[in-house]
Structure formats: structure tokens, C-alpha cells
Symmetry: C2
Subunit: 375 residues, 2 copies
């Protein structure tokens, strides 16, 4: 038989050079990935840099200054064109931005034959109209692949596992988990199986100091991030309820208590954080009386047709109480095959390196798919 067709390194454009973008860049410039992919462009929100440079190659240490010195204004349309017309096309477009403008362009990008890999939740968790437009322009409806493993659980194999369960004919009954690293940390510290009286405001402040929260902690405490992840998973379950407005169709409990809803700036909110302490202390006390702990969870209950992001109470010997540590995510799948005991995946669900790994593992799958043509 003929020997395998090893694809030439796949051309890649990386948009977004924040913490995750930098980690993606670092992984792509190192072995073993450096042999499989060739960066043809990197860009932050303002500037782009075409690669390779005529002189020395870029490195994780020097790209920032080179981009600032030699960058040109970013033009997304021309990036797509570079990837679709490259001699080694089709290329991969990595959207590592937090933008919602770029996700709106996914259908166009895919229809040019370009693959998309992204940790950006916004494209897959917005309106059903955008989701359907992306689906129509991607595999199996076209050869273009649109992957987002890192949009849920960062590098944890959450999306691939759910796809495998569905594709092999299992029936999803319930998906339940702690999907936010920030809220995992906050409630693991605030409500421990062994008890404790720490104030909610104090835990939030420590979380912020440790860099576990967004600059404005309300962005985590609103529950929106969890709702976006639920939306992404729900859409992979054929029997889950439709979500016309994506995450916005999901009942989502906010952890910004009513007394603080009028705080107009994050500074005011952080200053007045203690005003919410009584609310959370009461919740914890109520749970404790029942031998339970409080966790902020996302639930997709296919049987009852409910998708929700909310505070839940769990027995002190439940995996969400005992096994969960630090800022880990834990996600459990209860299915026809995996019941009564679920399939559980646990580990760091945030952080630049593991999120980047979710992106690069998707890219490896694209590389491998290109490498085995049907005879």
C-alpha cells in the first residue's frame, strides 16, 4: 500500500494575544506542534503581523515588541483570504478574542473553506440564528470544521466526550457540574463540608487578589459565563430544549444580591460587598442544617426539559462537596449507559495553558483528519 500522505504544516492565523492567545502561541512555536502548523499571521485587537518574518523567527519572548513595531492595522477579511488562498490551504483561523464581532463572521470564514478553532464562547452561545448559520457552513454540511473544546472546561475533554456519547447512540439524561473556576473556588472556600464561618465578601476579595475573578467580579457572579457553557453543551444534545437566544434563554441566578444591584461601578460594588454577606450566610446556614453545602452549578436536565444556572445544595459526601478542590471544574454526565453512577470529569477549568491546550488539541484533530484521505 502507499505510505501515508503527511500534510504540509497547516497555515494558521491567531487572533487575540491575551493570556490564552500567548499560551496558544507558545504551544504552536514548540515541538511537537511546531512541525504540524505554520503561523502565517498573529494579531491583537489593533494590529496584525504577517509571518514568517524576513529576518529572525518570532518567539514567545519577542513577538509583542515586533508586533508593536512592525504591525499593520488588522483586517479580518484579508486574514480569511490569506488562509483560503495559501498554497497549503485550507488554513485554521483561531479566534482567541473575546469579541462578538468575529463570531458573527464564522459562517463567512467557514464558507471560504477555512477551519475555525476557538476558546471564544460567544459564537456558539448566542442566538440560534447564528448557531444554525455556523452549523450550515461547517462539517458535516461542508468540509470546514468549527471546533471549540476549550469553550467548556478549558482543556478538559468535555465537548468531545459529549459528542462521543451522542454519536454512539447513548441517551443523555442529565449534565450537571461546576462550570466556573471562579465560582468553584468561591464556594469551595465559603461552604465546606466541615463547616466554617468565613464571610462571602472576604472570599470574593481573596479570589480577586489571586486573579481568579474578572476585573469586575460581577462578570463571574452574574452566572452568565456558566449559562454560556450550558448553552454550548445543550446544543450538542439533540433532545435538549431549544434555546432561541442562547445563554439569554437560560434561567440564570445572579449572585449579585438585590441590595447591591444599584452599585453603578465595580469600585462601589467592591466597597459595598459586605452588604450581601447576610444573604449568603443564611444560605450556607440553611444548607448546613440539612448536612449540605452550597455550590453554584449548571444543570441540563433533559428529562424535565430544564436548563438552569443556579445555586444548589449538595450532601456533604457528594463529589461536588468532597472531591472538588481549588478552582477545579467538575462535570458529570448521567446517561442511559452511565447510570446510576455518572461519567465524571474533573480538573482545572480555567488558566491560560490548559485553555490553550483545548485549542491545540482541536488543531491536532484537524491535522489528523487531513492526513488520512480516503483511497
Amino acid at each position: 500500500m502507499s505510505s501515508v500522505v503527511v500534510p504540509r504544516p497547516i497555515p494558521v492565523a491567531l487572533l487575540g494575544l491575551g493570556g490564552v492567545g500567548k499560551a496558544i502561541l507558545s504551544q504552536l512555536l514548540s515541538p511537537p506542534l511546531s512541525a504540524q502548523f505554520q503561523l502565517v499571521l498573529i494579531a491583537n485587537s489593533r494590529q496584525s503581523l504577517s509571518l514568517p518574518l524576513p529576518a529572525a523567527p518570532i518567539t514567545p519572548a519577542n513577538f509583542q515588541s515586533i508586533l508593536e513595531k512592525h504591525g499593520a492595522p488588522l483586517n479580518v477579511t484579508s486574514v480569511i483570504s490569506v488562509l483560503s488562498t495559501h498554497p497549503d490551504a485550507p488554513g485554521i483561523f483561531i479566534d482567541s478574542t473575546g469579541s462578538d464581532v468575529i463570531p458573527a463572521m464564522y459562517p463567512q470564514i467557514l464558507s471560504m473553506g477555512v477551519h475555525i478553532v476557538t476558546p471564544n464562547k460567544k459564537g456558539f452561545s448566542a442566538s440560534e440564528a447564528l448557531y444554525k448559520a455556523i452549523a450550515e457552513k461547517s462539517f458535516p454540511n461542508t468540509p470546514s470544521l468549527a471546533y471549540g473544546e476549550s469553550t467548556v472546561g478549558a482543556g478538559l475533554p468535555i465537548i468531545q466526550t459529549l459528542k462521543d456519547l451522542v454519536a454512539t447512540g447513548d441517551e443523555i439524561e442529565k449534565i450537571e457540574g461546576v462550570f466556573s473556576g471562579t465560582l468553584s473556588y468561591i464556594f469551595n472556600e465559603f461552604s465546606k463540608p466541615e463547616g466554617g464561618n468565613v464571610k462571602f465578601s472576604e472570599v470574593v476579595k481573596v479570589a480577586k487578589e489571586k486573579g481568579y475573578t474578572e476585573p469586575d467580579p460581577r462578570d463571574d457572579l452574574s452566572g452568565t459565563d456558566v449559562a454560556r457553557k450550558l448553552s454550548i453543551l445543550s446544543r450538542l444534545v439533540p433532545t435538549a430544549p431549544a434555546l432561541p437566544q442562547g445563554y439569554a434563554s437560560i434561567p440564570t441566578q445572579s449572585l449579585v444580591p438585590d441590595v447591591l444591584s444599584d452599585a453603578s461601578t465595580k469600585e462601589e460594588y467592591l466597597e459595598r460587598l459586605e452588604e450581601g454577606d447576610e444573604f449568603f450566610a443564611n444560605l450556607r446556614e440553611e444548607a448546613k442544617k440539612e448536612g449540605q453545602v452550597v455550590r453554584y452549578v449548571g444543570v441540563i436536565d433533559v428529562k424535565s426539559g430544564k436548563v438552569e444556572a443556579k445555586l444548589g445544595k449538595y450532601p456533604a459526601d457528594h463529589a461536588f462537596a468532597t472531591a472538588l478542590k481549588g478552582s477545579d471544574n467538575i462535570i458529570s454526565f448521567t446517561t442511559k449507559r452511565y447510570s446510576p453512577r455518572p461519567l465524571i470529569i474533573q480538573g482545572a477549568g480555567a488558566g491560560a495553558d490548559v485553555t490553550a491546550m483545548g485549542v491545540t488539541s482541536d488543531m491536532v484533530k484537524i491535522y489528523e483528519r487531513l492526513a488520512v484521505p480516503r483511497i
Copy 2:
């Protein structure tokens, strides 16, 4: 752009029709898989049946009697030839046997361009010579794929996750887990965080009655099954020690105590099982004094270069003590990225349906790889 090339249903031969084989058959005959694969042959250890039949199609209910009535003697060489010369070739050869003769033929099968998917551990866990011969004849050295997700953890995404970690440049430091559903059940019952005085022999007898053990429980208690799984995982870690004789190169603690080593039949062994109770009771007592429980684990410690299957003691609040239930597997990966807290995967690690799912999810990946040709 052109629309996607949807591959015709991939021809499949299924060898081995025990519990797992039947579950594979059932999944392949049901949607969604029935649209992607066409069974061209099924066989047990004696007889084979070419498909489709001229009259009615086979079903999970009728295949057994049809095979017995119309089967022809199995000829593996001609099965390979059917798969490699089929108009929709290359096909997939599913080895769901417990044979070690068929794994010895994997290099030959792969070199005919045929893909292999198998829950049979014997090919990947035997001598390094066979492992290398398989590797030489499979991707990325040829276009033929050899997949065995279900050889470790059944349907749990253990092998894919390890491959993803390695392929994206992470460094594996330690893999540790409870890899045997049988030994998980036995020790979860025998050594509980909250204590208890049940006898080891009683637990083994209940496990046998529940169908959790092999017909001869010594096949589980020897630790060989765990050593085979460690061998399969180790070989995916470039920095792990070489295992010239596969599982046989791994120090493996047997749970058949010395006093019982002279039992010549399984009947004698089962009758005399209580003679080992003191040994295990002492172990449990010793662990309990240290606030620990006993678990039979597999460990790949890359830093120290050790691969071992053995009894280990774990603190009562460790995931192997608290989170592990029933006959579940739990596997933790500690890596450069996932440390100090590991990536953990837990769930049923045995059973026909979930093992079959590990096989069919590999098949879906082959189907998808064939569906996206490089332009």
C-alpha cells in the same frame, strides 16, 4: 466551495460475539451508527456469516441463530481480503475477541490498508516487538488507523485524553488510578473510609455472584489486567520506561496470597478463600491506624521511571477513597499543566455497553477522518 464528501457507509467486520461483541453489534445496527457503517461479516470463534443476507437483515435478536444455521468456518485471512477489496474499502476490522492469535495479525491487517478498532488488550500490551510492528504499519507511518480506546477504562476517554496531553506538548508526570472494575468494587466494599469488618473472602464471593469477576476470580486478583492497561498507557508516554515484554515487564502484586498459591483449581481456590482473610484484614487494620484505606492501583510514575500494579494506601479524604463508588474506574493524570491538582476521569470502567461505546466512538473518529479530504 464544494460541499462535503460524505463517505459511503464504511464496511465493517466484527469478530467476537461475546457480551461486548453483542453490544457493538447492537450499536452498529441502530441509528445514528447504522447510517455510517455497513456490517459485511460477523463471526464468533467458530463460525462467520457474510452480510448482508439475501433475505431479511440481521438483528440483535436473530443473529445468533442465523449464524449457527448458516455460518461458515471462520477464515481470518479471507476476512481481511473482504475488507481490503470491498468497493467501499478501506474497511474496519473489529477484534472483539480475547484471542492473542488475532492481535499477532494486526501488522498484516494494517498493511492491507484495513483499519483496526479493538477492545482486546492483548495486541497493545504484549511484547515491544509486536507493538513496534503494529506502530510501523499504522498511522502516522501508514494511512491505516489502529484504535483501542476501550482497552483502558472501557468507554471513558482515557486514551484520547492522554494522546491529547502528549500531542499538545504537555509533560506527563504521573498517571495513577483504579483500573479494574472488579478490584474497585472489592476494595470499595472491603476498606471503607468509615471502617467496617467484612471479610475479604465474603466480598470476593459477592463480587463473583454479581458477575463482577471473571469465572475464575484469580484472573482479576492476579493484577494482570491492570498491568496490561498500564502497559498500554505507558507506551503512549514518550518519557515512560520501555517495557520489552509489555505487561510482563511490570512489577505486579498478586492478590492471591501465598497460602493459596497451591490451589490447583478455581473450585479449590474458592473453597479455601478464607485462608487469605487474615492477610487482608491485617492490611486494612494497618491502613486504618494511619487514617487510610486500601486500594489496588496502577501507577505510572514518569519522574521515578516506575510502572507498578499494587496495593496502595490512600487517605480517607482522597478521591480514591471518597469519590470512588461501586465498580467505577478512576484515573488521574498529573502533568506539568495539571498540577498540583490532576485531571481526573471517573465512571464505569467495565460492562458491555460502555466498552462497546469505546469501540464505536473510535469508529466515528475514523468515519470523520475519512470525510474531510485535504483539498
